[in-house]
Symmetry: C2
Subunit: 343 residues, 2 copies
Amino acid sequence: MAHHRNRRVILKTRATGLPVPELFDMVEDDAPEPGDGEVLINNIYVSADPGMKGWISTAKNYASVETGATMNSFGVGVVVESRNPDIAEGDYIVGRTGWQEYSIVAPEQGGFRKVDPADGPLSASLGVLGHSAITAYFGLLDVGRPNAGETVLVSTAAGSVGSAVGQFANIKGCRTVGIAGGPEKAALCREVFGYDVAIDYKATDDLAAALQEACPEGIDVYYDNVGGDTLDTVLGLMNQNGRVVICGTAATEAWVPPPTGLRFERHVLVNRLRIQGFILFDYQDRYEDALADIRQWFKEGKLNYREDIAEGLENAPAALAGLYEGRNRGRQLIRVRPDPTLS
Amino acid sequence: MAHHRNRRVILKTRATGLPVPELFDMVEDDAPEPGDGEVLINNIYVSADPGMKGWISTAKNYASVETGATMNSFGVGVVVESRNPDIAEGDYIVGRTGWQEYSIVAPEQGGFRKVDPADGPLSASLGVLGHSAITAYFGLLDVGRPNAGETVLVSTAAGSVGSAVGQFANIKGCRTVGIAGGPEKAALCREVFGYDVAIDYKATDDLAAALQEACPEGIDVYYDNVGGDTLDTVLGLMNQNGRVVICGTAATEAWVPPPTGLRFERHVLVNRLRIQGFILFDYQDRYEDALADIRQWFKEGKLNYREDIAEGLENAPAALAGLYEGRNRGRQLIRVRPDPTLS
């Protein structure tokens, strides 16, 4: 059995605000040995996700990372050692790898799945063919439940989740309106991701008026990745029986001390709204159902995507920080080693 | 055809805050004649409902009353003239009568139904055998969907809707916790309405701590009639996959200018909450389903209730104002004329 030195990024200090590179540290030690049923993978790409803000914060979260532990993340790697009869060396595996070069994974772990490089680029298995799209799929279709002809509004509409939401909503026959930050992202929404209208929120000082113009028949589903003032504004524009999918809270920098906003319950009552949160991990048993649809739409050329790939594990913390400044230009990944599927 | 002089309470001025008697005026004119299919009823009881705050406010509402119009309300009356072959003089009818002595009603109107005095007191047809209980029924069972063993928290727990929610939740095998204002109402919750625990919110300066003590296993369903600070506090104590039923917003006096509170979306996301509003009127097609269960439980002695009956139409505005001061001691009704079913 070969020994592998393993560089990994650990969480040094939990965050009270937005993630900054100083919260992390790089360490190097020996990669662990896989146990029975487990495999060791050499990671090729790992991800930086907006939700990580919550994972490393001092507040309660569904996926908290302890200080001193390897930073959690999704990743895709190639099997270098297998102690599982169903998995061969050379197989490609997506899992919750963490920000490190080598990870132990096993089929019974959340998010584990084999990837066939014939389905699309390996990097896409972490985005438009992976959990970004799966998040969008369940959030939109299972929680938001849009009907054809309804208006679906999406925040961070050019992001990896948002752009998938918009495209899925188009596939379902909805009118799609995106909110994005800056002219470049708004143009991406319109020209690449197929939104009927895109609003550059940085270029308007009256978001409510812009939304009313963009949504002449009101808003039936709001797929919300940001919360905050934008959510407050949208809640006043929802149609009767509207649904608000809470997928992220990117607009709020810190939850301690508790931030304030407009009271919301009157909108919920008068317009019979449903505001519902969800966590991708709760849908693990149904990932393959989602992926079957997603792969099909991808093959049919209905799903565009953009990636922004940082080079080297040491740049993962900066890539993460960049997400909250809107610096990324697509699904933010970190290349840990050369991608063997690219010639 | 007899002519009937009709005294009625009209809305003089729309409210920007809580309802006060000065917003209303009493007028007298001839009762209208029923048209084909319609009946004229002589009202016996009409209701004062917490939701009326919204109906008469300047803000958008699902049941707005125009200035100069008769105040909307529920009521029960006896048929004095019928132009409908299915309805006889002397029948008792519940409908949206408004605050007046005589009303024209018809079966196709919302809320219309015949009442059999053998089912219970006529006044109860506007409360525990009527729309208070129907509201509680659909809000709890259709929106909140509690499972046996779960903890159900109710605000204005001793009110006509709240007390029905608590008793329905008990029937469904839930642990029930009520929030009420004052020792008398808290005692009612425990001793008459069967709550496992009742919290007098006026007697605590740390509602969160009181709730944590009362709900050692967290809160699965919050049936909310008040909103405001109480809602903010409860949202931080909800269990994973918890449901918040928005039935009323009694705690907020005015919505103009827009009031503020704690941001809520992080709780919704992290705990996968569902916050959902509903309006009784949307369930009109299913009232009889609800009433079948409710009448059965009433017969079995499982539904206690309290009424507070003001004498005379002229006292309706004051009775309404009293609701928001917590002055009522049960379902607030107004007796318009003597109840012929009482000897």
